[in-house]
């Protein structure tokens, strides 16, 4: 698995409350996480860091050869543990009042895996022909669009477009949405925070990810730059995952370098 992660504070904010993590675990399963913290000074970045730390800590010693269902159970348990940790700190320390974070975490065993999802960070599956958003935002505007109350265009200009309906760490109980994922050799998996998805269109994402003559890192950089150039009001985070073992792929995509 070829993987890159990029995170940037953006052009307006002073603190990067986003955090990403991607690594192969001891079991050989790949874990990728994007968390977008919220709650202001020292709280948002603490929430996203606790989320990433706790989930990785919990999954580090995951057994290999698990079924999709078992992967999902492990992922949900790890995320719920993070919820308890964040909520407990937030409710005990005024400094962390109301902190919370989004999370998208993917466990990939080969080409199959599971996504755990809370909030409005996203996972996309991209190949030459299509781009598909695998997660549904837990946000006010998405619900309004789904119910036909507002158009996609209106959603983009809604003053509360960054308001989520579910977050990690803001309530003692939260439900994790689990989404199974299957990739082909030619698919790229992209995790991102809303700092990217609010600024870069799906077409632009697809075209950039499909610029296969560039290295995966260069493509991630390009996505980041596009979000920055489109305003960069929010923190921007992107993780790209691509299969390395494809036939001729290494030659074509220049990973051999």
């Amino acid at each position: 698995m070829n993987m890159v992660q990029r995170s940037d504070v953006g052009r307006v904010r002073t603190v990067n409350e986003d955090l990403s993590w991607v690594q192969a675990l001891d079991s050989g399963v790949t874990l990728a996480i994007v968390a977008d913290g919220m709650g202001g000074h020292q709280a948002g970045d603490t929430a996203s860091r606790l989320a990433v730390e706790t989930v990785t800590q919990q999954l580090m010693s995951l057994r290999s050869g698990l079924s999709a269902e078992e992967l999902g159970d492990a992922l949900a348990a790890a995320i719920l543990r993070a919820n308890r940790v964040i909520y407990e700190l937030a409710s005990q320390d005024r400094k962390y009042h109301n902190m919370g974070t989004t999370i998208v975490a993917v466990l990939l065993d080969g080409l199959k895996g599971m996504i755990g999802h809370i909030g409005d960070s996203r996972v996309y599956r991209i190949n030459e022909d299509t781009i598909e958003q695998l997660t549904e935002d837990h946000s006010l505007v998405h619900e309004l669009v789904k119910k036909g109350q507002i158009s996609n265009e209106e959603a983009q200009h809604h003053p509360m477009k960054n308001v989520v309906t579910r977050a990690l760490g803001t309530d003692p109980h939260v439900s994790v949405e689990l989404i199974p994922v299957a990739l082909t050799q030619h698919d790229t998996l992209m995790l991102c925070s809303d700092g990217l998805s609010n600024r870069v269109s799906e077409d632009e994402m697809k075209n950039t990810v499909n610029t296969v003559q560039d290295s995966l890192a260069a493509r991630a950089d390009q996505l980041l730059q596009m979000a920055l150039q489109a305003g960069g009001e929010d923190n921007i985070t992107v993780v790209l995952l691509e299969q390395t073992s494809g036939i001729n792929d290494s030659a074509v995509k220049g990973w051999a370098e």
Binding site: Q57, E88, H158, T170
Partner: protein
């Protein structure tokens, strides 16, 4: 905060409430000797400059309001990190508490309260201030029964804050107007909608829209009908229900057009002449409304009116027709031209033929037959041609020719057997022999240099092949093997040159960089023939449970992983412990097996820094000693201290993060009567009763102590 003298003027007395944005305290204005309410902005907003600016501006504009039903704002101030608003103190309760206690209210009382709220809104709206967050929590009822609305403009400051902008969780939306949920402009009529809900709640003791989550409530505001107030509470007069129904219309155009208009309705709704009022009817309006929404899409830009597109289309058609017309006329012209040309040529040739025949007759020269010259030596060919009276065109073409030795003719311009006139000329090509090529030594040159050298020696580019292989001894990019070998003569046209170029060593072992300093790690990366990642210089500084300055993570390769040379590595350098970390000193008394006799003690701990860390490998004690074990705890990692005595496991002491934070760690007790002074690991004495090693630099409450000396004294100095 209690007891604090804010701005040298307001002495904070008690906390009286708190919302999402601020905490509210009752305070004494020492200058004017009266009670005031002080609203202190929550920590999370304090560092948001844009918000602070907005907050002050909104507070200032709200301060311009002067009305018996609006909570007066006296002062806006800041003392270091504390931002506050000083307001009129209202002794009493808020409407939310009042509703919980007393609802459903009598119509008279509800209307009396509603009128005062409406009057406050009318005043604010006339001053162009929209409340945007009318709800019972923001409506105070004084002991004298006077209603006062508070927090004008604050909602706007909150929604414009960076925090909200960067993401927040949807809060309570029970009093949200539909347009607020939809994200379109909110105005005076939005406040009237919220007031309608407040009236509904006062009279029915329930909310019109309830749901299991804020989002379902928000959607109900937009699309659901609510249970009519009189269905819930038949005692509500129809005229009063009508007010609720009108103020809660989803379409703002159908509501009251102003607070003044609503006020007038509230004013008369309980008068005798409205006792038999009919239920308000919106069916027609709703129908029109629906019609409107159906019509609107038609003028959206994505549905282009047919006329506009029709015009260009017809124009295109015309152009096509015109083109076709041109095409149909063209073939005629095409036929005319060739006919003329062909006949002209035929005539011309006929004339020319005539001329040639005529000239030939004039100058007749004898002909000879051209012999075969190919494979003859140049000398022989010349001799033969001279005998026949044929001249050789000079200079003779000389070229490499496969299969022909040097000096042999391989081509003649006129074939054997053809007739030529005496004295005419012929050209011949003479072989220079086979092109040879001596392979030079190009090893240890870069591929580009080697290739250029071969091209200079006339080796055709497409006969040079590059092969890349790993080689532990040759630097990447250099040629380390070649065919043909050095000095081999080859046919230049046939030779296939193969250059084997090193890709460098196949793989290198990823060094373990963890716990190195940044400089050490950089050196190790260079030494291993790897490089730092381009992104942020290959170094990221993040908080971790490693000592400040140490590498705590290397990415994406684990130590000992095989990686290709020149792979990029990112190192994460610890910027110290995260702000929520707690450094806690656990004072642990340990007794020897027998008082006065030597026992060997071993202490091992686990905390946020790692598992089973050896703290004291072996220390001899002969009486009870208190060991001060410094732990670093995290919200997601509690500590454990294990004690071994004379190589046997003695006991295990868990130290939870939240206990340490709240000062509720269980103090270990041991059953040995006599104790001595506590001794730290290096044997130095510590003062009795000193609060040891607790980090409060980051604003922790600093109320956690382990204390081994004062047994049984679980103190907590909250």
């Amino acid at each position: 905060m209690i007891g604090h003298e804010l701005g040298g003027r307001y002495e904070i007395l008690t906390r009286v409430g708190g919302g999402g944005m601020a905490l509210v305290y009752k305070a004494q204005d020492l200058l004017l000797g009266r009670n005031v309410a002080v609203k202190i902005l929550r920590q999370e907003f304090v560092h948001d400059e844009e918000f602070i600016r907005r907050f002050r501006r909104e507070a200032q504009s709200a301060a311009a309001l002067s009305h018996p039903n609006v909570v007066s704002i006296y002062d806006v101030g800041q003392e270091e990190d504390v931002h506050y608003i000083v307001m009129e103190y209202v002794e009493g309760q808020n409407l939310n508490e009042y509703i919980k206690e007393k609802a459903p209210l009598q119509a008279e009382e509800a209307i009396h309260i509603a009128m005062q709220i409406c009057d406050a809104l009318d005043h604010a709206h006339q001053n162009e201030i929209i409340h945007r967050d009318i709800k019972p929590h923001n409506i105070l009822i004084g002991k004298n029964g006077r209603v006062k609305v508070t927090d004008f403009g604050i909602a706007r400051a909150v929604t414009s804050s960076t925090i909200t902008h960067a993401g927040s969780v949807l809060g309570s939306v029970h009093y949200f107007s539909p347009e607020h949920a939809k994200g379109v402009a909110t105005g005076a009529k939005s406040d009237l909608y919220s007031l309608g809900i407040v009236i509904y709640q006062m009279l029915t003791a329930r909310l019109p829209f309830l749901g299991e989550s804020p989002i379902s409530v928000a959607l109900k505001h937009l699309q659901d009908e609510f249970e009519e107030p009189r269905v819930v509470n038949p005692l509500i007069p129809q005229s009063v229900e009508n007010i609720i129904l009108k103020s809660m219309r989803k379409n703002p155009q159908e509501r009251y057009q102003s607070a003044k208009e609503m006020m007038a309705d509230l004013d008369t709704c309980l008068s005798a002449n409205r006792l038999h009022e009919k239920k308000i009817d919106f069916i027609d309006d709703a129908f029109i409304d629906e019609q409107k929404t159906r019509v609107i899409p038609a003028i959206k830009p994505d549905r282009v009116p047919p006329k506009k597109t029709a015009a260009p289309v017809t124009r295109v058609v015309k152009e096509e027709e015109a083109e076709q017309e041109i095409e149909t006329t063209e073939p005629k012209k095409k036929w005319v031209k060739p006919t003329i040309w062909v006949s002209a040529t035929v005539v011309f040739l006929a004339v020319m033929l005539g001329v040639v025949l005529y000239v030939q007759k004039l100058v007749y020269v004898p002909e000879v037959t051209v012999p075969n010259l190919v494979k003859l030596t140049e000398e022989e060919a010349r001799k033969q041609l001279t005998e026949l009276g044929i001249e050789i065109e000079e200079p003779v073409t000389r070229a490499n020719k496969e299969g022909f030795d040097k000096g042999i003719v391989f081509e003649q311009s006129k074939p054997e057997g053809s007739k030529v006139k005496e004295g005419s000329s012929i050209s011949i090509s003479v072989s220079e022999g086979v092109p040879t090529f001596k392979m030079p030594d190009v090893t240890n040159k870069s591929y580009a240099d080697a290739r250029q050298e071969l091209i200079n020696l006339k080796v055709p580019e497409n006969q040079i092949t590059k092969v890349e292989e790993n080689n532990d001894n040759v630097a990447a990019g250099l040629v380390f093997a070649q065919t043909p070998e050095v000095g081999t003569d080859s046919d230049l046209t046939q030779v296939q040159v193969r250059l084997t170029v090193s890709k460098g060593s196949a793989e290198v072992d990823m060094p373990n960089l963890i716990t190195m300093t940044e400089d050490e790690a950089k050196a190790a990366i260079q030494k291993a023939n790897l490089k730092l990642a381009a992104e942020s210089g290959g170094v990221k500084r993040e908080p971790s449970y490693f000592p400040k300055g140490e590498v705590f993570k290397q990415w994406p390769y684990e130590p000992k992983e095989k990686v290709e040379p020149n792979s990029e590595v990112m190192i994460y350098v610890s910027s110290g412990y995260p702000p929520e970390a707690i450094e806690y000193t656990f004072n642990l008394p340990v007794a020897p097996v027998e008082e006065g006799k030597k026992s060997t003690i071993r202490i091992v701990y686990s905390d946020a820094r790692g598992e089973n860390i050896e703290w004291i490998a072996a220390q001899t004690i002969s009486q009870v000693q208190t060991f001060a074990v410094d732990l670093v705890l995290a919200p997601n990692k509690d500590g454990v201290v294990n004690v071994y005595r004379n190589k046997e496991f003695l006991d295990s002491y868990p130290v939870s993060y939240f206990d340490a934070k709240n000062g509720t760690v269980q103090i270990p007790q041991i059953d040995v009567p006599a104790t001595t002074d506590p001794v730290t690991d290096d044997g130095t004495m510590t003062d009795e009763g000193t609060d040891i090693g607790f980090d409060n630099g980051n604003g922790n409450n600093g109320n956690g102590h382990g204390n081994g000396k004062e047994k049984k004294d679980k103190h907590n100095d909250n």
